[in-house]
Symmetry: C2
Subunit: 183 residues, 2 copies
DNA sequence: ATCCCTATGTATAACAA
DNA sequence: TTTGTTATACATAGGGA
């Protein structure tokens, strides 16, 4: 898109590289936003600019707040159905953890820059049994769905949320440091 | 882009949502790939599909392997210059850790879906002094640049690299679990 | 999901400020 | 660096297999 077809290779001029980055970053963030909205999914993205400035983009929290809003505006009956569903999902999560189906991951090949696939055996996940147990206990709160208005429940959910975000912030820190060292 | 302008709202039909996701995912990954190549930067991205299938994209390792290749093909003199530069960067990293400049982060507002800014005070980074020290010791290896062909050095770098990747895999695991719980 | 197709909406290259 | 303009290259909506 542009007056000329751009060569797919590193832009030499640092000045031009910066401006190109700035424009395309805007574009890709917009794409991510749209995709997340249209398909109601979560996306997280980290970009390190040519001048090492990190950009973090994520939609991680959107679903939760939307769900909360919807949830609080639903009838008791609907909430009860939702609760049943959540329970089923939880059960499935535990089942899944006992299965052997690999989780497929698409990723960029280190050298050739093409998308390839990797998988994590679920046996690996077993080692995180403790983590699962914690999450299960968090979910206990959801069982009394009729009382989800309760401030305590909301606090649990907020904390849960906050930990997701700090998680991402930590990653960012590490990546930023690596970035500077790996010159 | 398409026969009609698409409404910017969630696509109701799950079938259509899936196909739209699949098309746009391809597009956004291509964009990321191009941006990383053109501007020689690192990008990492996680997408959770409408059916919970996670996709991980990252360019984290590309720079390192490129740098390694270039490095091994440079003259001793060039290597010496590179070494001096690396040392300077390291010093700057330590300085930075003592400064108060915030690191700016752009991110999606939880509710409104718009990009806003946050910052991490560098004082926070101080708490990670230990981490910094570890990285510093890894860097010691780079000081004998003339001997970077040494297998031991390469091993250190590979381990360093591997830890970045496993880091990302862990995040993926956590996000995947949260995703299922937060229905 | 994925692939093909083509009409159209979008992103952006080049340039100027 | 970011902003604006215009001409073009690209991505993708809709629809069918």
């Amino acid at each position: 898109m542009g007056r000329k077809k751009l060569d797919l290779k590193q832009i030499e001029c640092p000045k031009e590289r910066g401006s190109k980055y700035s424009k395309r970053k805007k574009g890709i963030l917009k794409k991510a936003e749209e995709l997340a909205l249209l398909c109601d999914i979560n996306i997280m993205m980290i970009l390190i600019s040519p001048t090492e400035k990190p950009t973090l983009f994520h939609t991680r929290t959107r679903s939760l707040s939307q769900i909360l809003k919807e949830f609080l505006s639903t009838s008791i009956q609907e909430r009860e159905e939702r609760r049943a569903y959540t329970t089923k999902v939880l059960e499935k999560l535990v089942e899944t953890n006992d299965a052997e189906d690999p989780i497929v991951i698409d990723y960029l090949s280190p050298d050739r820059g093409e998308v390839i696939q990797d998988d994590i055996k679920v046996t690996e996940l077993r080692e995180n049994r403790k983590l699962l147990d914690e999450k299960t206990s968090i979910l206990e709160g959801w069982k009394n769905v009729a009382e989800v208005n309760d401030l305590g429940q909301l606090n649990i959910m907020e904390n849960y949320l906050a930990s997701s975000i700090s998680h991402i912030k930590n990653i960012l820190k590490v990546i930023q440091e690596e970035q500077q060292i790996m010159i």
